[in-house]
């Protein structure tokens, strides 16, 4: 395809995306075999030739009439300028970095913020319910963190619950988060994840198939899930309710022959109904990042937060400074997991004030985190 043609093709795709209620399957139907520019042309003339084939379900004539009426009014230059102003990159099928070459149901265009080159490495998706349990959240965090420790980029949907926890685990390990969202990249959703949103852009890449300004809509989320499945070498579902949305990510992955992992949960926990169901249907059980990385053959080999020795985590001091024996006791106590200050008092046999002071010193130097009266080891970076 010549450069001019590629250029025209992208503008035509932007025009199509500027039309109301335009999803990927409707766009594909409109384009048919003729290319996006021809589709726009047809709409402009108000003629939809019958050789387009059967219309997708739930597409009404009145909506097509609206497209015909609005197609001339789409201000492509304005849209392009807006994306330039927001720093949002746009990829089309002809671009070198196009991540959906093998995708049966590709997006019209990909919008991204951050470094798109991250997608060249094999990616693992970690997804799950928004209504997760504390256990689910912690497991998602640890899997995200463990995969990132091995250098594996982790994709997720930036939703509340499991998704957010997975992203945070990746960020705390200093790894590469990949956020795939259903809104325009300038429309933060959910609002509670504003800071996480910008952290993902800063340290990884944020992408979606909707142009800037697109508000969240129910139907866009399953479409987003297919992009996650399509990007990933494997999909891990941490927790999902019986008919949870993350099961659709798993279904999309199965359709694309990607391995699906599920974290086993209690048979009485509703938040694990969906994931346990996946296991019954043959998904691969995953307890931690090691299970996933070894099965997929991704990453730099074991770097061990799952039992192996923590060697790869240079930069994180794992031994206390020799001049402070109390700090040494505290650090060895918290090495196995979060502990209450009371236990540190017992272990060190020091007065509570001394223990609190030492803990706070270690907090100040970013080696420990004090959450309430519970102490645990800090990550590489301060968690949000």
């Amino acid at each position: 395809m010549r450069l001019d043609d590629a250029h025209e093709d992208r503008r035509a795709r932007l025009i199509l995306l500027g039309l109301p209620q335009m999803g990927p399957s409707r766009a594909r139907w409109l384009i048919g075999d003729g290319g996006a520019a021809a589709a726009v042309d047809r709409l402009r003339r108000g003629r939809l030739t019958p050789d387009l084939g059967p219309a997708p379900p739930r597409l009404t004539t009145s909506l097509v009439d609206r497209w015909v009426a609005e197609v001339r009014g789409v201000d492509v230059d304005g849209i392009l300028a807006r994306h330039r102003r927001l720093g949002i990159g746009i990829l089309g099928p002809n671009d070198r970095h196009w991540p959906f070459a093998a995708e049966p149901d590709p997006p019209l265009l990909v919008f991204y913020l951050g470094d798109i080159e991250h997608l060249h490495n094999p990616v693992v998706a970690v997804v799950g319910t928004r209504q997760c349990t504390t256990i689910g959240r912690n497991v998602a965090y640890e899997i995200g963190r463990g995969l990132a420790d091995r250098g594996v980029p982790v994709a997720s949907g930036l939703a509340l619950g499991v998704d957010g926890a997975a992203h945070r685990g990746v960020l705390d390990s200093g790894g590469v988060p990949i956020g795939v969202v259903a809104t325009g990249l300038d429309v933060v959703y959910p609002g509670a994840h504003r800071s996480l949103w910008s952290s993902v852009v800063e340290h990884g890449v944020l992408l979606g198939e909707s142009p800037a300004g697109t508000k969240p809509a129910r139907w866009r989320f399953p479409a987003r899930n297919r992009l996650i499945a399509s990007l990933a070498a494997g999909v891990v579902v941490v927790e999902s309710h019986q008919h949870g949305g993350s099961l659709s990510t798993a279904d999309e992955a199965i359709e694309r022959d990607r391995p699906v992992f599920a974290v086993p949960g209690s048979v009485v926990s509703p938040a694990s109904d969906g994931t346990n169901g996946l296991l019954v249907e043959g998904a691969i059980p995953a307890r931690h990042a090691t299970d996933i990385a070894e099965t997929l053959g991704v990453g730099d080999g074991p770097v061990g937060r799952d039992g192996a020795v923590d060697e790869g985590q240079a930069g994180r001091p794992s031994v206390a400074t020799p001049e402070d024996p109390i700090a040494a006791v505290i650090l060895s106590e918290v090495a196995t997991g979060p502990v209450h200050i009371d236990r540190l008092v017992v272990a060190s046999a020091e007065p509570i004030a001394v223990v609190l002071d030492t803990v706070q010193r270690l907090v100040a130097t970013n080696r420990l985190v004090l959450d309430g009266s519970t102490v645990f080891l800090a990550g590489h970076r301060e968690s949000p």
Binding site: T133, T134, G164, I341, V363, G372
Partner: protein
Amino acid sequence: MLATIPTAVVQGVDGHSVSVEVHVSNGLPGYTLVGMPDASCRESRDRVRAAILSSGLRWPTKRITINLAPTGLRKQGASLDLPIALGLLVASEQIDGDRLRPFGAIGELGLDGSIRPVTGLVSLADATLADELLVPADGAAQAALVRPGHVRPVSSLAELVHGLCGAAPMPGCLDSPDAATRPDNARLDLSDVRGQPLARYALEIAAAGGHHMLMIGPPGAGKTMLAARLPGLLPPLDAAQAVSVTRVHSAAGLTIPKSGLVYAVPFRAPHHGASMVAMVGGGTSAMRPGEISCANHGVLFLDELGEYAVSVLDALRLPLEEGVVRVSRAARAVSLPARFLLVAAMNPCPCGEGGSDGLCRCSESARARYARRLSGPLLDRFDLRIEVRPSSPSVLLGGAEEESSAVVADRVAAARSRAAGRGVRCNAELTAKQLDEVAPLSAEASDHLHRELTSGALTGRGLHRVRTVARTVADLADGGTVIDADTIRVAVGLRVMPRTVLGVSQ
């Protein structure tokens, strides 16, 4: 004929002088009660009539008019029974008015003529304008608290009338209750608590510095047990405080010890179903004091903080600042004392197992809803926020003997006397200006606080609270005037909220 008997009514915790004027004249027999009596007061007619008849006296079959002056004040309660009966007896010439002249009267009558105790006797005795008081024998010690040597306990109308007629001796005057009968404050001893070094330390700081404290932990961790031991660590009430506590408790209708004086440090633990009126006071025309006033000079313990009505919790904010609560109703407004140490306990989430153990079965949205119940401004009032975890079995079933309340109370008293030297009751009351003088920061401490502020971990208000806590920490450790970084670190470490409780995920 006319008779006037001095008495009083109570509103909030203050008594108001009232004159009962009884006029008996010829005319159609009838009974009129005027002067803004409320329902409980209007009922007095039938009690008084039965009591007079049961005591072998005569009910005048004449025109009876009773006025409660001043008429602008709403009167309530049965304490006006006795003055009305005495007024009637004088006005119908059954008792000599001159004999009764020096006496004010307070008391409820039974149908058999017995004189029953009333609530608010301390305030009532204080406000009654008479040389001597006739008060119910049960509780007379409370009246003697404010009018020592001028209180005569009476137990039945017949006996009283005999005394007044000279047929029997009048009961003698009561002296002030004996302060020596002070009860042992620390029946609940801190040595009962096994382990829990952090919670013990926080309790000690709370008692020494008057810092409000929030305990977060699963059910059964010992939060209530710890809170109940706080009064035993506080300095005992002095005489003036004891009288003021007795006055409030009497007005609120709480049980007063036989001695007539409440000497125990108050510990109030209202259930989380408590209404706004139950908590801050008001309600009836008596403007009964609420729980926060009953906790004056003591401890208010709110268990299951997240379960209280949000409006009730937010109503605590102003009293926490000012030490008084102003209750305004259409009819009138009263000021009630409310200087208390607030101790609250809560579960980290609805299932109670939250925190870092990973046992929580709550959904994120349920946790967020739970966290939203606590307003930021209320959480900000807690200088000490600690997590309480159950002690391990080995500590519960054995372990060393723990420090007793008496030992800790001595350190608390020493710290409080240091605070008194600064012109405040406790360090929590220190103003920012005073802090610069009595708790200047070392350079390193200042740096540390600067970092906390810029990282957003501390607010401006939090900064001030941390400095007052640091002052208390240093006082307990016999530290000098300058607050060093170690002390600041301890103070900051004692106010870290668990993120799950704040509704912040991960």
